[in-house]
Amino acid sequence: MKRFIGFVKKEFLHIFRDYRTLIILFGIPVAQILIFGFAVSTDIKNAGVAFLDLSKDEMTLKLSDKIISSGFFKKTDNLVNYNDIDKVFKTGKTKAVIVFEENFGSNLLKKGKANLSIIADGSEPNVATLVTNYAMAIINDFSRELNRPATNNSILIQPEVKMLYNPNLKSYFMFVPGVITLILILICALMTSVTITREKEFGTMEVLLVSPLKPVQIILGKVTPYFLLSFINVILILVLSWLVFGLPVKGSITLLLLESMLYILMSLSLGILISTVSKTMQQAIFISFIGLMLPTILLSGFIFPIENMPKIYDYVSMILPPRYFIVIIKSIMIKGTGFYYVWKETIILVLMTIVFIGISIKKFKIRLD
């Protein structure tokens, strides 16, 4: 029995001395609870709504006000014509547009029914569904209040719901861009960091450094195959999703591929950075997985929209590169936007790449001296 206890003691020591096992045992469960508790939300707060009011009468103003003052929506814009709808969705701030038909108020009072459209941003199916349901509930409530004086429900507002960009509200519209984002950063960062730390672990890095190969040649040489293969991967996924799901690229394919190359470059430089702080392959894999994959899936806006999370998660997700690329890829693929709408995110990715490369070079130089 004593032998057994002695052995169990040793196992406890292993666990407590290694920060990685502690993270897995305690850190991850705690993080999961916090993230899932807040990130997965079926509520919406301050969802952007724009109005295309073709009547501008008392009824439409009252209903608009009711929608805005519900606390679930905030007004982003008053649109002038149908062309504005696409534009306002492309900025990404608006999740739904309410369109009131002409003579809304008079139709309602004289004919007993009037039409309005709820047009939602279908590129985020989860959000679109929520937003639509909440809007419908508010509109129904409004109808009921109008009917109260009468005994028969003679007044009816008929909302027509349209999901823009994703008419059938297919979830793969959300998943395909998200999967591309996740796979690229995982493969590039993980594989790059592993291949560099592998040389360190096996001692072949020293030999390479002593050889006539310049350090920059070594790093570039490591990175080039992954760059090419990842690029082929992107094309493969796009072709597959087009063939299997019928999901085309609405916007410019060239722009999409260029942005993908930027993202791949950023992920590769992140992998290099991870390799400068990892001594072994195991460490590199651990950091890449726990540090990259989990936050990317949960906090980058891949599945759970960032807008619905508490502000603090929003701030945390600002340091995650995938957050920006998801916006870019969804915009181009599904909304068909041009560079004009994604330049901010693009610049951020460029800056991140420069920072990662800069820090890596600095760490590398320190090591050499």
């Binding site: 096996f202 072949t204 020293e206 002593v210 050889s211 006539p212 001296d369």
Partner: protein, 250 residues
């Protein structure tokens, strides 16, 4: 042993080498020369500063002060040229385990700028010398340790460098293989390639033309094994080492 006409052909020339890391002095005024075709043993206790010195000599790091010339090139400004003219073999094996013998040799030949025809010629010479011909397309991890080490050494001198640095090359290998390895070292030195070897095996120190012993950042002995044994009145180099090399203070 090297002939007298090589006496003036210095391949390593070190004067007052100092290397500091912050306030810690890893190399404290080292002075030594190594001549062409010598087998030079570089000994010292762990933490004495050997690895630091070797990194400077192989162009991996720059001295804090002092003159250091390797293969005739300056260790401050001409590290690229130094790297082109030296070979290196470390204890952890320099060969890629998932590549074949031939693939490894082709890789290093290419890195050292050798022309394809020359690489192919050297491959067949090398394989013949080691009686390795059937292993040409074997994956390294399938080969026994002793074979791998001999191969690693051959690859390190493939491009006929002026000096080859061997960092504890015979770690974990049986005595017979070690002896064969040292025969290869003799052959290499006879070809005019200087061999700079560090080792913890004191019997290997006896095989060297000259040895130096480092202790706490300084060189405390530098001479032929015979001369050192006479001076310190011991039978073996090991006893000399124990007498004068001090371990790292706790």
């Amino acid at each position: 042993m090297f002939g007298n006409d090589n006496m003036n052909d210095k391949v390593i020339d070190v004067h007052d080498l100092v290397k500091k890391f912050g306030s810690f002095v890893a190399n404290d005024n080292l002075n030594f020369e190594v001549y062409k075709g010598e087998i030079f043993g570089f000994l010292g206790a762990n933490g004495a500063g050997k690895t630091t010195a070797i990194r400077i000599l192989s162009g991996l790091s720059r001295p804090t002060s002092g003159e250091v010339k390797v293969a005739g090139f300056d260790a401050y400004k001409q590290t690229e040229l130094i790297k082109k003219n030296i070979g290196y073999m470390c204890q952890k094996f320099s060969l890629y385990e998932d590549l074949t013998v031939k693939e490894n040799i082709m890789l290093y030949g290419g890195i050292y700028g050798m022309k394809l025809a020359l690489i192919k010629k050297r491959i067949s010479e090398l394989l013949e010398r080691l009686s390795f011909q059937e292993y040409e397309n074997s994956i390294i991890s399938d080969l026994p340790l002793g074979l791998r080490q001999k191969l690693a050494f051959s690859v390190a001198v493939l491009h006929e460098p002026k000096i080859v640095f061997l960092d504890e090359p015979t770690g974990g290998v049986d005595p017979i293989t070690r002896r064969q390895f040292w025969e290869m070292i003799y052959e290499t030195a006879a070809r005019g390639i200087t061999v700079f070897v560090t080792t913890h095996y004191m019997d290997e120190a006896e095989y060297c033309d000259r040895i130096s012993i480092m202790s706490e950042g300084k060189i405390v002995a530098l001479d032929t094994p015979l001369a050192l044994k006479k001076r310190y009145e011991t039978e073996t180099v090991e006893e000399v080492f124990i007498k004068i090399a001090r371990p790292l203070k706790n």
